[in-house]
């Protein structure tokens, strides 16, 4: 039944959406402003020169490269470990299974600042110097959760007898993995991986505690905002970040549409 929504509700809904999305549009507009010291509304003029300036700034490229590297590696780690963990929890019964399930999800429920502080202390105790790898380890903690959540939901929906049927028909463990398990969980894994990538790409809190001297893109942006020089460069980068994180999330949404997949809520 389609019934017309009351006018008040419509206005409220539109208002809510504007409140959520107008600020993002503002960021985009400021990327084209001619005024570089303070954000002045309305912009005195529009220009494309900040794209060129951004393109020629090595620190932007460095930060972007590091962010992409960190996001890719932590996503790969998360996909391998998260899937294996989901398979174990969904497929077999063992002592402490529920506890493990909870412990895996905990990093995403925990405030990032706690994860960050504890990782920093742990790295100190272990005498590990801060490097790209310490950032990756920090990001992997919450990336695993996203992949795990997606994979475990799919595993639970996949009937256990499919695996038995495959083996019954002569398939070995590897053939079963390749021809039955992978096709059935592939979209969930891809969706989990994309969300993990997006989360890692714009992560700030855990990164500040585990990065040392290196700057990922979001950290670079924070630093840049307090310096009153070439401000619109930050906005150009922000546009890129929005696009880079939005596309995977959109992809994940389409891949898991109509399924009961639990996406990465909360982080």
């Amino acid at each position: 039944m389609h019934s017309k929504a009351p006018l008040g509700l419509k206005v409220a809904a539109i208002g809510g959406l504007l409140f959520l999305h107008l600020p993002i549009l503002l960021i985009f507009v400021y990327a084209f402003t001619t005024e570089e010291k303070s954000y002045q509304w309305p912009p005195p003029g529009l220009t494309l020169k900040w794209f060129e300036v951004t393109w020629n700034r090595p620190d932007v490229w460095q930060a972007l490269g590091l962010s992409l590297r960190v996001a890719s590696v932590s996503t790969v780690i998360a996909m391998v470990l998260g899937t294996l963990c989901a398979a174990a929890v969904a497929r077999s019964k063992f002592f402490g299974r529920e506890t493990i399930s909870l412990l895996v999800i905990l990093p995403i429920a925990l405030p990032g600042i706690i994860t960050g502080i504890s990782l920093r202390s742990a790295f100190n105790i272990a005498d590990m110097p801060f490097s790209t790898w310490t950032i990756i380890l920090g990001h992997a903690t919450f990336c695993i959760v996203v992949v795990y959540n997606n994979a475990v939901a799919r595993f639970r929906r996949t009937s256990a007898s499919l695996i038995e049927a495959s083996m019954d028909l002569g398939a070995t463990y590897w053939q079963t993995l390749r021809f039955v398990i992978m096709p059935n969980i592939a979209t969930a894994l891809l969706a989990g991986g994309m969300l993990a990538f997006a989360l890692s790409f714009d992560e700030v809190i855990v990164t500040t505690f585990t990065a040392g001297q290196q700057q990922t893109l979001p950290i670079w942006m924070l630093e840049e905002l307090v310096r009153p020089r070439q401000r619109p460069v930050t906005n150009v980068v922000a546009m890129v970040v929005v696009l880079v994180t939005f596309l995977p999330i959109l992809g994940a949404y389409y891949l898991t549409r109509g399924t009961e997949t639990v996406a990465g809520q909360g982080k």
Partner: protein, 329 residues
């Protein structure tokens, strides 16, 4: 002759639970064999032991004379039709049926032809391009059957094959399965909790309870000559008379089964009070409290039916009382 399936002292324990407990079993090649029992009686575990999804805790299993106790499922000459059909949702019907041939490495054209033949065998010609989700329950079951049969197994295992179908379809499939088994001449081993299904389809029936086999025999054997009170009650819904009562009636010291339809109201050694009455169409079933037990009596249409509360005498023919001095009696 070598048995198709041979169990020798097979047990499967899950922790403290003895799902299967010391089972000896011989299934002949070409036999339609039923594993019958209530849920939790060990019949499904037995089937899974044959398929190789479970490994026995004790004992050994051989398939056509070859030791198979530790053989993985993918190296056994048996195939299974699963209770939930377990069709691969990402493959169409033809690729589902051809799956076993594909992993074996058959050429694409050969497996396509074999799959279409198998689909024709189960009257599903032309369904090859559909996805399993687009089929009805009965059609999915046929696909599962074709997928197992295309492998030309020496033994076909069926786990509650008709459980999910409605009554009419179930009766139709009973006939078709029976016909298919005769055509193919291979052993069918099927699990069921429905004694009517077991009796009407199987050449031989093994009745399970608490992980043990109570009786193995032809449908007539287990129905007419139950060896234990459990078989009498579960298979035939028969009356079980306790040993003391049988001793008083016959002098023998063992429980006995007495079929509800063999009892006549009138003159006889027992008397009791009618407690319930149910009209079944072709007959009326009444229950009579007598000697501390409840006796079920089936009166065919036309016979006079006593009122509830009435006290009646019960008699039966000379050979109606079957003394159960079997091993578990």
């Amino acid at each position: 002759m070598t048995s198709a399936i041979s169990f020798s002292g097979v047990s499967r324990h899950f922790g403290d639970v003895r799902a299967v407990d010391g089972v000896d079993l011989e299934i002949a090649p070409g036999e339609f064999f039923a594993l019958l029992g209530p849920s939790g009686s060990g019949k499904t575990t037995c089937l899974r032991l044959i398929a190789g999804f479970e490994q026995p805790t004790h004992g050994s299993i051989s398939i056509f004379g070859a030791e198979a106790t530790r053989t993985p499922p993918y190296r056994r000459p048996v195939n299974t039709v699963f209770q939930d059909y377990a069709l691969f949702p990402h493959l169409n019907v033809r690729d589902n049926v051809a799956y076993g041939l594909m992993v074996r490495g058959d050429a694409k054209s050969a497996r396509r032809a074999a799959a279409d033949d198998a689909l024709a065998l189960v009257a599903l010609d032309g369904f090859g391009d559909r996805k399993p989700a687009a089929l009805s329950g009965g059609q999915r079951q046929r696909v599962a059957l074709a997928r197992a049969l295309v492998m030309q197994p020496k033994v076909l295992l069926l786990d509650e094959p008709l459980g999910a179908l409605d009554l009419k379809l179930r009766e139709q499939m009973q006939g078709e399965l029976k016909l298919l088994q005769r055509q193919l001449g291979i052993a069918f081993v099927f699990v069921t909790h429905d004694q009517g299904e077991a009796l009407s389809m199987a050449d031989r029936v093994a009745v399970f309870n608490d992980g043990r086999i109570q009786q193995v025999g032809s449908p007539e054997d287990v129905y007419d000559r139950p060896e234990t009170p459990f078989v009498a009650d579960f298979v035939g819904a028969s009356n079980v008379l306790p040993a003391q009562l049988v001793h008083r009636l016959t002098g023998k010291d063992a429980p006995a089964s007495l079929r509800p339809e063999a009892i006549q109201i009138g003159d006889g050694p027992l008397s009791g009070k009618v407690s319930t009455q149910a009209f079944l169409g072709s007959a009326t079933r009444i229950e009579i409290e007598s000697e501390g037990i409840t006796l079920k009596v089936l009166l065919p249409k036309g016979r006079s039916v006593p009122e509830i509360g009435e006290t009646v005498s019960l008699g039966w023919g000379a050979d109606a009382l079957h003394i159960m001095d079997g091993r578990n009696g």
